[in-house]
Symmetry: C2
């Protein structure tokens, strides 16, 4: 029942206005005549290009016959001021019945799933439809076939890149503070072993630092796809931000809504990771799945279920995969926050030692990649990777990567600025650290300003199992803002993330 | 973890821009400094007034230090150009944890439900959160207690009115074309019997006409609350549009999203109806629930379940209620569309006869109101109501209502303009009408232009059970646009809404 026929023509003005979606400002009378109201979506066309845009109405900003397009919309269409564009109301989105089917418990075919993802990426859908699609998964999980259709559709609606040799990658599902720095060791170990690992990663969503945030302390991470391809060819390893590469762009739209609703359906997480990797040309992949109290995955049975999802989907998509369940019960290494973690990683690379939770994990994951490649026999990868790390070849490779990405390869750990406002909490008693709360550490580091304030974060002086004396430092907070530090200290006192227990629990009068 | 402290002050400009939500246009640098990005929500304050608004960023529209507020936002705050307003980022919405709890299967307390509805009404939530709340109900129904909290919260977050005498009302859950005119008979019958019935109703959402659309053909329906109170006191009956009266405003927000997603959770429907009625001061209510093929409620067991929800909730809220399950298997009366229905209702009132499905239904519902009031013994209401109708008192009362609402009380059916472009479909064979498809009739009448084109709609010449000869007219379409009529005729041929079956099904060669 869509209103068929030729679109009405309007003269274009371009306005500098951003609402994180395509906008078209129309005179109220034009909108009425077109049969649309504010917040409806219309199709704007110029020649053979078209873009969907949300209608904003005004009595005065644009006169009848003229529409104002946001810069984003104008650039999607390649229009300039004065051009004439066609504007047409959009009836029901092509995938409307498919979405309705899913909301009412039906299973989606490959075509239906693709039509939904196409409408999501094209901006035909508003937040309500996207939230409905995601929330439905909390109650009615995607079937394995539906999930594979979802992943394929997410890949097909974005850019894809191919490399001449086999592409390897390691990806952590995250959830543990301090984890962002692991890739700064793993990637150079793998690349130094001669394998291609053009790693793209995200910025932090709920953690104090993502790998992209941490690497950005040392080099550029906002590389173009051409730069990534060139560096990968030359250096083998890349540590780039994947945000603007148009890899599975539906994922960014989904993640934004998931974050707002604080939901994270398992199937959607698998789709998010695998779609980005496939779009990046990855053929052999190691998934790091931290398991433990305060991690995303709390226990072994949940981990097995999720790992099964990854493995079966990878199989359907022709991807070789290994899933490593790693210890995620406390932070990785001793720091959380971009600059602090960059410093810790650099120290480890230079000195070839450091926190076991950092080095053992990096070596373990790199070893699994080596096994996937056939360069190491099953069970031998870790030893080979450790050798590459200890030999200094990993550090050499890391310097090449930093240099290729426009950073200073000779930067020293002490050159890295951390927040000048600090606060250290000491142990109130003699005893042992029995627990460090991941979520509390993340919240406190973020309250300090991480990841936006690169120098903000926390350093742990003791980890689980360490013996401490009364007055020994437990945790130091860093921030470049005194007022942020103050807020973080209040939070530290409320949340008490580092638990010390002695033999004596309490004395009574 | 919200950023505490004093809001930053900005000079105000007012812009005429509408996106169906409060907007604030900020310079990108101001937004960055405030720690917000486009599409975030901020709290805007002036003195003791405050409003939430969605951030639009621009490099050029507003210079640093100046914000542009949409007219809607400015009027919510009572600000003028040049005033200084405070702007503060909003951390997590107050009800964020409550929403999260619901999405993860928890039951909401009264306080939690209230905080969600408050955030919905205040505009703290975007479409994603509202969709999540509604979609969760498809899978995890609200419990009876949660539902009563929801209804109370929806009432408390809007305006309420009280009358000096007991307020009665009749409300149809809808879903059957031609139903909008029933209230044009019921309300005057009840009012002529001396009972107060200040009926507010909605415009059509998916049907060809709502009662407000149909009444608007004869009189003003966009009355203020003061006008409604005054007319009710004087004439006893009112037929007004409830859209701008701020009655349970959360409902309008929910309905908008439900429509887009094509979902209609039962509990939410019950909340929608009861909250608006309680806000309007209604104490005794008759619910009309059409049941049948093509109606909202398809069968008796679904009807019983829904009726039970209404009855138990009314009990919890101190409302006397009767639910009438009525025949909804085909359209009511012979017309669908605002002007056509207004004409049919007026003819029935003047001539005291007409379609049985119209008159019997109106009399039945009015009779139930009389029984709820005690003016009729159980089982006797219908007879008394019919007497009021046949005596002409209902028509006299209707004229008073039309006059009080600014219409011409002496208007005659033939004075009412209907669409000048018409098309009549004739029966292709001799036989009997065995089915009329409600949904198809609605779609065709809407394709003709109803409800926006008041004269558009359909007239049925035969209804289920009528015998027709080959060539007899079955249905006539009306529109004021030749091209719309053409589209509707195509649809009519596709959907074939009036099914005629003869004895002879087919001849073979």
């Amino acid at each position: 029942m869509g209103l068929e026929g030729r679109p009405k023509l309007f003269e274009v003005r371009v306005v500098d206005i951003d609402l994180h979606r395509n906008l078209i400002i129309m005179n109220t009378s034009d909108a009425r005549e077109l049969g649309v109201v504010a917040n409806n979506v219309v199709l704007v066309t110029l020649g053979d290009k078209s873009a969907y845009a949300t209608v904003v109405t005004s009595e005065t900003i644009t006169q009848p016959g003229v529409v104002a397009l946001s810069k984003q919309t104008a650039s999607a269409l390649g229009v300039s001021e004065g051009d004439k564009v066609g504007v047409k109301p959009v009836g029901l989105p092509a995938s409307f019945n498919a979405l309705k089917k899913r909301l009412h418990g039906g299973r989606l075919s490959e075509g239906e799933m693709k039509s939904i993802i196409r409408d999501v990426v094209d901006g035909v859908y508003g937040e309500a439809e996207i939230a409905a699609f995601l929330v439905s998964q909390l109650y009615s999980e995607l079937g394995e076939e539906e999930l594979s259709y979802l992943i394929k559709a997410m890949v097909e609606t974005g850019s894809r890149v191919t490399f001449e040799e086999t592409v390897y990658d390691v990806h952590s599902i995250g959830g543990v503070p301090g984890n962002s720095k692991v890739a700064l060791l793993t990637v150079p170990i793998v690349a130094a072993s001669g394998l291609l690992i053009p790693k793209t990663s995200s910025r932090a969503i709920t953690s104090p630092a993502g790998t992209a945030d941490t690497m950005e302390v040392l080099a550029r991470v906002d590389l173009t796809m051409d730069e990534i391809v060139e560096i990968a060819r030359r250096v083998k390893g890349v540590l780039a931000w994947g945000g603007k590469l148009n890899l599975a762009p539906a994922d960014d739209i989904f993640v934004n809504i998931e974050r707002r609703l604080s939901i994270d359906p398992d199937q959607q997480m698998v789709a998010s990771i695998l779609s980005k990797k496939i779009a990046m040309g990855v053929e052999r992949l190691v998934i790091d799945m931290p398991v433990g109290r305060g991690a995303k995955v709390k226990d072994a049975s949940t981990a097995d279920k999720l790992a099964g999802l990854f493995i079966r989907q990878a199989g359907l998509l022709g991807l070789s995969i290994k899933v490593a369940l790693t210890y995620g019960g406390q932070p990785i290494g001793t720091t959380a926050g971009p600059a602090l973690e960059a410093r810790e990683a650099l120290e480890a690379l230079i000195e070839r030692k450091g926190s076991r939770s950092l080095i053992d994990k990096a070596v373990l994951l790199a070893g699994l990649v080596l096994e996937l490649s056939g360069r190491a026999q099953p069970g031998q990868g870790e030893d080979i990777a450790r050798e590459v790390f200890l030999s200094g070849k990993a550090y050499e490779k890391f310097k090449q990567i930093v240099e290729a990405q426009g950073g200073n390869p000779n930067v020293k750990p002490d050159d890295i600025q951390v927040g000048s406002h600090t606060f250290t909490l000491s142990s109130p008693l003699e005893g042992a650290v029995t627990h460090i709360d991941n979520a509390a550490v993340s919240l406190i580091a973020r309250a300090c300003g991480a990841p936006y304030d690169k120098g903000a974060g926390v350093r742990l002086h003791a980890k689980v199992g360490y013996r401490v004396n009364k007055g020994d430092p437990l945790i130091t907070l860093y921030s470049s803002s005194a007022s942020r530090l103050e807020t973080a200290v209040r939070l530290l006192r409320d949340l008490n993330p580092v638990v010390v227990e002695g033999m004596l629990l309490k004395t009574l009068p």
